[in-house]
């Protein structure tokens, strides 16, 4: 399977997949196929190439429907990425002055800033506290909902990019629905690593990015239940989102086209379909197991030498091993790992500044594992991490 990922031949240990995953040949070839065989626009034109593309786009939509186990392919809206999906809901979901949105204290900026912006319109933002180790506390969540009857929407990350913790989404959604509250899940870090079944979860909206699930960059998806999507106002409007216009009126398309403004990133869409197929073939649950087994090695060998962010149990952290060392600049740490041993990690606050600031956490180095990482690589990482600790302390 590793041979599908050409860049690995460069003798690099890539453990920054939470930021962007590598892409297998089949995805790259699919993108190439679009440019070489039907590089046209879908829908508008009446020729064979356009027809081929329409079929390919539909095929991709269906593959993603299958991956999510959605009711209909019409529930799949193509976006640029998770951020755009979250913004779409933030700007289109009917919220009125005095209504509130609930998020956790550990959200990526993409699931914080769009809501912060709504404060200007008098929409309240409530922050759900988590347990000290970053895990979710259902009891506290229930209390929050009880105490804040004005909450109309819950927008949570499904899996965290800083500690890998997966929230109990099914229970969270059930509880919310009991109070008539809708739920939006940021699945950027869950969909690539575990099975996400929107029917079983009964989630109202769910957003994710192609580039974290071995798909192309610049393409993402917002899933929404048909009835919920129909209630949303269009966000970006223009070509492709309308059936007719006059100089003073407009009739909008049905979903999903209503939300897909302008000509689309077709290469991205067909590539994403291929990535969905690849992911289903590999089986996300097996990916999760594989990542946990590697994370166990990291945790076992390094837990006494570094400070971990998140729960100690690797089962709870999936493929994320995020750590810092007192009195060591972790930016330099990551950079040395890269220049000395070709190990690609990421350092910083990982776009979850608000949580780092609230918890007073220093900059950290994140190792994020995926399907293509091996036990041998993980052992090499530990050896090198130990050497760099020795050097810098």
């Amino acid at each position: 399977m590793r041979e599908q990922f050409k860049v690995l031949q460069k003798n690099i240990i890539y453990v920054d997949s939470a930021c962007m995953s590598l892409r297998p040949d089949c995805v790259i070839n699919k993108i190439k196929e679009y440019y070489e065989e039907y590089p046209v626009c879908a829908g508008r034109s009446n020729h064979k190439l356009a027809n081929t593309l329409v079929t390919e786009v539909l095929r991709a939509r269906k593959l993603i429907q299958k991956l999510l186990n959605a009711k209909s392919e019409k529930e799949i809206i193509f976006t640029k990425n998770t951020t755009e999906g979250l913004n779409l809901v933030a700007n289109s979901f009917k919220l009125e002055e005095g209504d509130a949105v609930l998020i956790t204290e550990k959200e990526h900026n993409s699931n914080l800033v769009p809501w912060l912006k709504l404060k200007e319109k008098g929409i309240q933002l409530i922050i759900q506290k988590l347990n000290d180790d970053g895990t979710f506390n259902l009891a506290e969540y229930k209390t929050t909902l009880e105490n804040n009857p004005n909450i109309k929407l819950v927008s949570f990350h499904h899996a965290s990019n800083i500690d890998g913790v997966i929230i109990p989404a099914k229970e969270i959604i059930q509880i919310a629905h009991k109070s008539g509250i809708k739920v939006l899940l940021d699945a950027a870090q869950s969909l690539p690593h575990i099975t996400v079944d929107v029917k079983k979860l009964d989630v109202d909206f769910l957003a994710f990015s192609g580039h974290k699930m071995m798909g192309p960059s610049g393409i993402g998806v917002l899933y929404g239940k048909t009835e919920e999507l129909n209630k949303l106002d269009p966000f970006l409007v223009g070509g492709e989102t309308v059936t007719d216009t006059t100089h003073d009126s407009v009739s909008y398309e049905q979903v999903p086209e209503k939300f897909e403004a302008g000509l689309q990133n077709y290469a991205g869409i067909v590539g994403l379909g291929e990535a969905a197929k690849f992911l289903m073939k590999t089986n996300p649950d097996k990916i999760h197991k594989h990542e946990v087994s590697l994370n166990k090695i990291l945790t076992e060998r390094l837990k006494d030498r570094v400070t971990l962010i998140g729960p100690e149990d690797p089962e709870l952290r999936g493929g994320i091993f995020n750590f810092y060392i007192e009195n060591i600049d972790m930016h330099n740490f990551s950079s040395i790992l890269d220049s000395k041993a070709n190990i690609a990690t990421r350092s910083g606050q990982h776009c979850v500044h608000s949580y780092y600031n609230a918890k007073n956490l220093p900059v950290s180095t994140r190792i994020s594992l995926y399907i293509y990482n091996t036990e041998e690589e993980v052992n090499k990482i530990v050896d090198e991490v130990e050497k760099v600790i020795e050097l810098l302390s």
Partner: protein, 305 residues
């Protein structure tokens, strides 16, 4: 501090490549806006520090540790070296502009602005004297009696003392530059023929005789001819060609150069020039300041008052 170095180095490289331009912009930010650093990004200087350390770790751990620990000291040393090399480059540029040579007046070290060393090339006098001794390069006109030599142009009180030889490549190159100087600035130019080849010795005498009998104008015409035609021996043919070209009577001049006084004057001139320490042609003194080798026009012009 390394950001300053990076800004200068990548600023220059950035002219040619986009990837270096990006680093230059980052270095600019690093130098001028140090406090608005994004938390997700480390500063350029820290990246450089750790990348160098990482590379060194592959070779020697102690060296890597030392570099990481004393990076600021190393940076400081590099900054000093950078400033020093900028100053040196400035001095070289100035020297090149003023003397046609980066290393200062009449030095012959490598000069980046004149990589072939052309501006300092000479036809060496050793060819004639067979001397292998190191020549004393401290040239000065102080001891010289310039009235021994013919005046090529009687101009203002700027004195150009032009030592060259008819056959020599670099004198030939310089002659039109000196002529341009005469036309544009009208300095007084004294011409000293220094034959680096025995066969050319009698031409010194011809020059002297022409100046004595006919004055500067004819000598200038004679020089024009000699410098534009490769005449490397004074045979009857070449001499008559030179003289008839400037409308002079070969017989009268053959007589003049045979005279003891004429031979003696040429010898005196030669001795005076070698005593001066002249080691090759062209050597030009402008108001006493020596220039060895063919220099650009601007160099000579700047030396005029």
């Amino acid at each position: 501090m390394i950001c300053i170095i990076a800004l200068i180095v990548f600023g220059i490289l950035g002219i040619f490549s986009l990837s270096y331009r990006r680093i230059a912009i980052e270095a600019f930010d690093c130098v001028f806006r140090r406090l608005v650093l994004r938390k997700c990004q480390s500063r350029l200087d820290q990246r450089a520090r750790s990348q160098i350390t990482g590379k060194l770790m592959k070779v020697s751990k102690p060296a890597a540790k030392f570099t990481y620990k004393y990076f600021h000291v190393i940076e400081f040393i590099f900054i000093i070296l950078l400033i020093w090399s900028i100053v040196q480059t400035g001095i070289s540029g100035y020297n090149f502009y003023v003397y046609g040579n980066c290393n200062g007046p009449n030095e012959d070290g490598f000069c980046i602005f004149d990589p072939t060393g052309h501006n300092s090339e000479i036809s060496p006098l050793n060819q004639l004297s067979c001397s292998t001794e190191e020549v004393d390069k401290e040239l000065s006109l102080d001891q010289l009696n310039t009235s021994l030599f013919p005046v090529l142009n009687q101009g203002d009180d700027n004195i150009v003392f032009f030592i060259g030889c008819y056959e020599c490549e670099y004198t030939r190159e310089t002659y039109p530059v000196i002529k341009k100087l005469i036309e544009k600035e009208n300095p007084t130019v004294i011409f000293a023929h220094l034959p680096i080849n025995h066969d050319l010795e009698s031409f010194t005498e011809y020059g002297n005789c022409i100046f004595e009998k006919e004055g500067s104008t004819k000598l200038m015409e004679f020089n024009d001819y000699m410098f534009s035609n490769q005449v490397d021996q004074c045979t009857v043919d070449t001499c008559s060609a030179a003289l008839t070209h400037v409308n002079l009577d070969l017989a009268a001049y053959t007589e003049c150069i045979g005279l003891n006084a004429s031979v003696q004057l040429a010898q005196e001139q030669f001795n005076a020039l070698t005593a001066l320490g002249v080691y090759g042609t062209p050597t030009i003194f402008i108001n006493g300041e020596p220039f060895v080798g063919p220099k650009p026009y601007r160099v000579y012009k700047r030396a005029l008052k």
